[in-house]
């Protein structure tokens, strides 16, 4: 097995990035304008990278499948963004942010990358404020912070419940400035369908204009992929409908290793599925767990009655309720990390205690909090002997102040008043820590091909902490890639424009076209969604929150069968040269059908439980995740060889010099 070169610079961890930046090659401003860079995806990572590269002077071409960069799914992030500013004076520092992130990631991330992330986190906030991002402020006019799960300090900056939106609009505005200057050429409603390699280097892409169906060739000296995660492999997830892994998978097939695909985050507080027609799941902020208590009926017959709507949750007496997180994890209770909370909910539902018609939901109850806040308010207002109604009213007002918009969103979707009856929640796929393998420079195993943001295997190890995704996306795009890419491009100043009539472009275009033509001409029997749903079901059942050897092996076989069926019987209406949404979906699902198999293979190979990856064979005596640092403290990077089943594993051993490996405990 080869050893991957992660190109981590020498020196103490605190100085690595600074020393490295001092030494890397730079491109002189006059030469930059002769260098083209393609950026695929314009979310937080891609958008910030495109803007910064253009500002530095490079000629940037940016691609988005939506009609505007502002629509990227980064926009849906609610909670906030972490930064070690220590404005609260509660002892935060770069080291603490670094430590929390590595620990939260269950010790499966690369120390040097994470430290760099913590180091530039403060700059992100400065940058965003200068750009006009309206972060929440306190009455003194200074920036406000809140706390998030898994850490002991308040370091999360936020803009109402729309932090992702505001940060994305900040990056979008920086892009707009460069588009207006002609430094970024923006290709909206374009989808990248393959990367073109010349002499082993990434030199361009094949893209489809989604309006006209035209296949286009674009050349560049470097290609940056920033297309987000692959959560939609589950069909149902909190990702946008269009979120896809095509760009990441295509570059994998062209030589970029794919790392840790089995590390996927399942978020505990999502609105449950209501029927087979369900198209996506909606996330509700994790902050709800600060005041909500999670429970299911303690008696199976009560659960059955609730599922059949014969019984209402408020009719179940306190002693007949099972507050299972509080029962199992007395120390952290309802505030255990995401992966732990999700698995516990699944365990109860699998045992038959689910509380909606599908049997896949648990209660998140605010009654206790309403009563507690109400009593407190009554005291503050000097109301003696307040009636229960008065206390409830006062308590509900406090809850509304804190979570009003989430409660409203819930009511719109479920049509039940969550102030009066407990909310129903269920875990859903939310974020993928795994992704394209990159070195310290964020370059993949293909020279000149970079991968940033959620699309790379990233800094989050096996589990991501809340409010860290936005931080990583912007850190990569604003502050890391613009430096590291210069080091590579410094050799390219004499290359000149890359021609698009080279045989490599012909070949790539031909294969893209033949796949598209296949879809249109196949005239099969089942729609694309039919296959996507089948794949999702297998993934959720067997490669979901808890995995075991038998299930994973079955999953691999089943995915292969679905894929075979797909290539025989898929039906795509319409024609090539038009706006054709079914055709777009077909290509994406074809890639998910391969990625899903590698995902299962990776999960099968990783014989330990860590972070979002839970193997039922590897548990402690009391049923908790058991990590195996002796054998699995590595990044699993997969090399494509023609079939997912024949992918070759390369291991990047993880060294922990600055942090001691410990077992996470939330008991």
């Amino acid at each position: 097995m080869t050893t991957l070169n992660s190109r981590i610079p020498e020196g103490p961890i605190k100085d690595k990035w600074t020393l490295y930046k001092d030494k890397i090659n730079l491109v002189n401003p006059a030469n930059k304008r002769n260098i083209d860079i393609i950026v695929i995806g314009t979310g937080l990572a891609g958008g910030s990278a495109a803007a910064t590269l253009a500002e530095l002077g490079y000629s940037v071409k940016a691609f988005a499948y939506q009609d505007s960069p502002r629509r990227a799914h980064s926009i849906a992030a609610q909670g906030g963004i972490n930064a070690s500013k220590n404005y609260m004076g509660d002892g935060d520092s770069n080291y603490r942010l670094f430590y929390d992130t590595v620990k939260g990631g269950d010790y499966r991330s690369r120390e040097a990358n994470v430290y760099r992330l913590a180091e530039v986190s403060g700059n992100i906030i400065d940058q965003c404020v200068a750009q006009g991002v309206p972060f929440a402020r306190d009455y003194g006019g200074l920036l406000d912070n809140r706390s998030f799960g898994g850490v002991l300090v308040s370091r999360t900056f936020y803009a109402k419940g729309q932090t992702g939106q505001q940060l994305l609009l900040g990056a979008y505005s920086a892009m707009n400035r460069q588009i207006a200057r002609g430094k970024i050429e923006m290709f909206n409603r374009h989808e990248m369908l393959d990367v073109v390699k010349i002499d082993g280097k990434a030199r361009g892409i094949i893209a489809r204009n989604l309006i006209t169906g035209e296949i286009e060739r674009h050349s560049a000296h470097a290609v940056v992929v920033a297309t987000g995660g692959y959560g939609n492999v589950y069909f149902l997830s909190t990702n946008a409908m269009g979120s896809n892994a095509t760009a990441a998978w295509k570059i994998h097939k062209k030589g970029a290793f794919f790392a840790n695909p089995c590390f996927t985050q399942i978020h505990p507080t999502c609105i449950p599925r209501s029927g087979d027609y369900q198209s996506k799941l909606t996330l509700m902020s994790e902050s709800l767990r600060n005041d909500g208590r999670i429970w299911v009926p303690a008696k199976l017959e009560d659960a059955k009655a609730i599922q059949q709507k014969k019984l209402k949750p408020i009719q179940i007496a306190e002693e007949n309720r099972d507050y299972f997180l509080e029962r199992r994890y007395p120390a952290f209770g309802n505030l255990v990390p995401r992966d732990v909370a999700s698995r516990a909910a699944k365990e109860r539902c699998d045992a038959g205690f689910g509380v909606n018609a599908t049997g896949e939901a648990v209660y998140l109850d605010f009654a206790t909090a309403i009563k507690r806040y109400g009593t407190e308010q009554a005291k503050i207002h000097g109301i003696n002997n307040a009636s229960i109604e008065k206390i409830t009213q006062l308590g509900e007002a406090v809850i509304e102040e804190k979570y009003g918009n989430l409660f409203q969103m819930y009511e719109k979707i479920i049509d039940e008043n969550p102030y009066k009856t407990p909310m129903m929640i269920y875990p859903a796929t939310h974020y993928t820590m795994g992704g394209v393998w990159v070195d310290y420079n964020l370059m993949t195993t293909v020279p000149g091909l970079y991968c940033i943001g959620e699309a790379n295997f990233s800094d989050h190890g096996a589990n991501r902490l809340g409010a860290s995704a936005l931080m990583q996306g912007l850190a990569d795009g604003y502050f890391v890639l613009p430096y590291t890419i210069g080091d590579y491009l410094a050799d390219d100043i004499r290359t000149g424009k890359i021609k698009t009539d080279l045989p490599e472009f012909d070949e790539a275009e031909k294969s893209v076209k033949s796949q598209l033509e296949f879809f249109i001409n196949n005239k099969g029997t089942h729609t694309v969604d039919y296959y996507h749903k089948r794949l999702g079901q297998v993934m959720w059942d067997k490669v979901g929150m808890a995995r075991n050897e038998k299930g994973l092996k079955e999953a691999i076989t089943e995915i292969q069968e679905i894929r075979e069926d797909f290539w025989k019987n898929v039906k795509v209406p319409g024609s090539l040269n038009e706006f054709n949404q079914e055709l777009e979906k077909a290509g994406r699902v074809a890639d998910f059908l391969e990625l899903g198999e590698l995902f299962a293979k990776d999960a099968l190979e990783r014989e330990e439980s860590c972070g979002g990856h839970f193997r039922e064979e590897h548990i402690t005596d009391d049923g908790e995740a058991k990590r195996d640092d002796a054998n699995f403290a590595y990044v699993a990077a997969w090399e494509y060889t023609g079939k997912p089943s024949e992918a070759i594993l390369h291991k990047e051993e993880l060294e922990f010099k600055d942090i001691e490996l410990k077992t996470r405990s939330y008991k």
């Binding site: 910064t52 200068a130 750009q131 309206p134 909606t282």
Partner: protein, 246 residues
């Protein structure tokens, strides 16, 4: 429930387009409106007909991709939501629902219910930004205090999702609320003041070039805006524009 849908079909920008009637059956009231459209599309593909093209992405009311004029209202009859958050319980069994694209000359139809909102992009490019380099070497984020009131008002304006419901609802197809939201966001922050004059002039000039109508203060945009952006922002835009030109 069973419904009759009257949907705008248009093969491409050159096609004249027409309303076509479809029937859907067994629609659950818990479905979202777009899931109902998914069901219809699946059935059309099964019958070898071409599915209806419509824009959508996040399906949680924030990306601004979904549009649709439903029964004569942008994003349908419910308030404070986008089409993807509209649920079928807002309709009754046997209802006839009209589904049309957002209409304005500045939003040409691409196909069926999909429209081209590039006009919004060009307006943003005309000045919807603060000219600060993304080097990170700016001053510390806390060096300029901003009153909570202004920060909150700025945030309210900034919550615009750029969906175009304001234009679609306005009897004049005016884009004033969209432009006002961006201008206000920056006008309320000290960082935005430096370029305030050029910004408002350039953005309004671009807005006019795109062929949107004039604002006559009917207030329809504010009612239909999924994010409830207030027309007070339009007054602020007017004020900013006057201050910049006089």
């Amino acid at each position: 429930m069973n419904l009759t849908l009257k949907i705008w079909r248009q093969k491409g920008p050159q096609d004249k387009g027409r309303m076509v009637e479809y029937k859907v059956t067994d629609i659950s009231e818990h479905m979202s409106f777009l899931e109902m459209m998914d069901v219809l599309n699946e059935s059309l593909v099964a019958k070898d007909e071409e599915p209806i093209a419509f824009d959508h992405d996040c399906r949680e009311g924030i990306c601004g991709m979904c549009s649709l004029q439903i029964n004569g209202e942008a994003h349908g009859p419910d308030r404070g939501i986008t089409t993807c958050q509209l649920h079928m319980r807002m309709f009754k069994d046997g209802d006839t629902i009209f589904i049309e694209p957002f209409r304005a000359n500045a939003f040409p139809v691409i196909k069926d219910l999909v429209v081209d909102r590039m006009a919004f992009e060009r307006i943003q490019q005309a000045g919807g930004y603060i000219s600060v380099n993304t080097s990170g070497n700016t001053q510390d984020a806390n060096s300029i205090p901003i009153s909570k009131q202004n920060a909150d008002l700025s945030m309210d304006a900034a919550s615009c999702i750029g969906c175009g419901a304001c234009v679609a609802s306005c009897k004049n197809s005016s884009a004033m609320l969209f432009v006002a939201a961006k201008v206000s966001q920056f006008a309320l922050l000290p960082q935005g003041k430096v370029e305030a004059k050029d910004r408002v002039k350039n953005m309004v000039m671009q807005m006019d070039l795109e062929g949107f109508g004039n604002c006559t203060n009917t207030g329809a945009c504010e009612i239909e805006c999924p994010k409830g952006i207030s027309i007070e922002n339009i007054a602020r835009l007017n004020r900013e524009y006057l201050a910049a030109t006089i």
